[in-house]
């Protein structure tokens, strides 16, 4: 069944988009991530312009993360204090990100920047996660204990605050900076950033695993909602019809993904996620390096009526 998308200005097959939403939702539910880094490239692949894809995926991630965050909230697995400090940074970062997005679009370098950020971020995070997962897997095979957590330089910073539910005593400076960075790249790349935020919070900020996913989801929901608002108000690129189809497919797929995820061990899960992220990154890298089939591209600067 074909459906005409009012903002993307092209007809798409509803079932194809629903299936894409469900597939990405399955992956996101399984790994507890937003799945934007898969959704945005898929949309670009079916012919939607990168700009519209990035802007529309934001609301899709918000929806799936919100349903996730609600269930974590019921299980009291969200640290409200930590979430609010992260949000201060996140909102600032998103504003900067959307502004940069607009500037790059005017310069004609947006598509390149999106591709470059994907390559750099995904290959780095993917290979880190993959090697870490591999090491953890070897450790469990040998039956050795995981290395003891130690305090690092971040815990020497001033402006310390007590986060009760996470039971940590931490400076607000790194938390705000992490929020800014995630908000910024999220707005430019059309990703929630959960797959970067969760490792940062675990390894750098030493947030306990009981609250880390729920709290990171709160940041994802708010930054993505904020990004949707800004993209809609400044660039008029959010396709609500596309977003709705993606959301419906996404939240459904996520439920089944979450059930599947509980059957797999943590280390294997991280290994798989690392592999997935790495392959998306390499896919983008290949595209940048090999000669494109057409060197020319056209962009319409708005039809005058």
């Amino acid at each position: 069944m074909q459906l005409y998308l009012p903002i993307a200005d092209l007809p798409v097959n509803v079932f194809l988009v629903l299936a894409m939403g469900a597939a990405v939702g399955f992956v996101s539910g399984m790994f507890g991530i937003g799945g934007g880094f898969l959704m945005t490239p898929l949309l670009i692949f079916i012919g939607i312009t990168p700009a519209v894809a990035v802007a529309s995926v934001a609301s899709h991630i918000a929806a799936s993360s919100f349903s996730g965050a609600l269930s974590y909230w019921r299980r009291r697995a969200i640290d409200p204090a930590l979430a609010s400090v992260l949000l201060c940074g996140g909102v600032t970062g998103t504003t900067l990100g959307v502004w940069t997005f607009t500037q790059l679009r005017a310069l004609g370098q947006l598509d390149l920047m999106i591709a470059l950020s994907y390559v750099v971020l995904l290959t780095t995070v993917g290979s880190l996660m993959f090697s870490e997962g591999l090491r953890a897997l070897m450790r469990t095979r040998r039956g050795a204990l995981p290395p003891r957590r130690t305090h690092n330089w971040i815990h020497g910073l001033p402006l310390k605050m007590r986060f009760k539910r996470s039971k940590i005593y931490l400076s607000v400076i790194p938390v705000v900076i992490v929020g800014i960075v995630i908000g910024f790249i999220g707005a430019i790349m059309g990703i929630g950033g959960g797959f970067i935020l969760v490792p940062i919070m675990i390894y750098l900020l030493r947030v306990p695993t009981s609250t880390v996913i729920g709290t990171s989801m709160v940041l994802t929901v708010v930054t993505m909602l904020f990004a949707t608002m800004l993209h809609a108000a400044t660039n008029h690129l959010v396709d609500a019809v596309l977003a709705l189809i993606l959301m419906v497919g996404g939240v459904t797929g996520a439920q089944f993904g979450a059930r599947a995820g509980q059957k797999i061990r943590g280390e294997q899960l991280r290994l798989l996620l690392g592999l997935l992220i790495l392959s998306v990154g390499i896919r983008f890298a290949i595209e940048l390096v090999i000669q494109p089939s057409d060197l020319f591209t056209i962009r319409e600067l708005g039809v005058s009526r």
């Binding site: 809609a232 609500a240 600067l301 009526r305």
Partner: protein
């Protein structure tokens, strides 16, 4: 004053009479609506060449060129070059107020209809249509084999938005003709102008114009205009929709 008016009317009448042939055309649909299940359409243009007493008797073989032009827009063509091992956009040209859709249909190959000189003056053929570029502060069309111009036409043609067909117009009788106007799925919204130019023995002998419009209706129209005019409200609505969907999912799939 009255004498002057009379003179003008006379000149007009005589001018009309001197043209000898008249073109009468009609499009099958003057208003194409883009609905949720829109996936392209084909319009039909009908017409006839009306002769009168002043028409030379030996004139029988007519040639027709139908030009369909979509709403005009500014466009940028960019060229990628390898820089530091990766392919990035470097050079670009801006095309000013060029048709977003452009189709040229004729009953014979376009270069066989008339001389290159007249073809250029009457903008017959994609190579002769005026595509104004901004070249370092200047406004001009460039030679047809310019890299950016030909890339522009090639890319638009690939998307079905520019086309040239020397066999699309068919003469049902020596004076009655028809042609199909295919509109691809991703067709630009707006007013489309159609120019029908008549040739005989290579000479341009007259033209007529008509138009049709493509409009989004109902829901599509509502969404598109709201997004453009009330971005903030549209954003709020999308945000509310996202929260609703997320909330409903968490209720529907609640395990306890």
């Amino acid at each position: 004053m009255r004498r002057m008016l009379l003179a003008i009317v006379l000149v007009l009448l005589l001018g009309g009479a001197a043209r000898a042939e008249r073109l009468i055309v009609s499009v099958s649909n003057h208003r194409v609506t883009v609905t949720p299940n829109y996936s392209g359409e084909e319009l039909v243009l009908f017409g006839s060449v009306e002769k009168d007493t002043t028409t030379p008797a030996d004139r029988t073989a007519y040639d027709l060129v139908v030009t369909v032009m979509g709403p005009r827009a500014d466009m940028v063509t960019r060229r990628k070059e390898r820089t530091f091992g990766i392919w990035i956009n470097t050079d670009y040209r801006q095309f000013l107020q060029v048709p977003s859709y452009l189709a040229l249909f004729a009953n014979r190959p376009l270069d066989a209809i008339t001389s290159p000189e007249i073809a250029r003056r009457q903008q017959i053929g994609l190579n002769n249509v005026l595509l104004t570029q901004r070249v370092s502060g200047d406004f001009a069309d460039v030679v047809p084999n310019d890299a950016f111009r030909s890339a522009f036409i090639r890319l638009r043609t690939q998307r079905g938005l520019y086309r040239e067909d020397g066999s699309a117009v068919t003469f049902l009788t020596p004076t009655l003709f028809r042609t199909g106007i295919p509109l691809p799925a991703e067709v630009p919204i707006g007013t489309y102008e159609i120019e029908i130019k008549l040739f005989a023995n290579g000479a341009f002998i007259g033209k007529t114009e008509t138009a049709f419009e493509i409009v989004k209706v109902g829901f599509e129209q509502f969404v598109a205009t709201t997004a453009r005019q009330n971005g903030l409200i549209y954003g709020l609505a999308t945000v509310a929709m996202a929260l609703m969907t997320g909330w409903m999912a968490s209720i529907v799939f609640r395990k306890d």
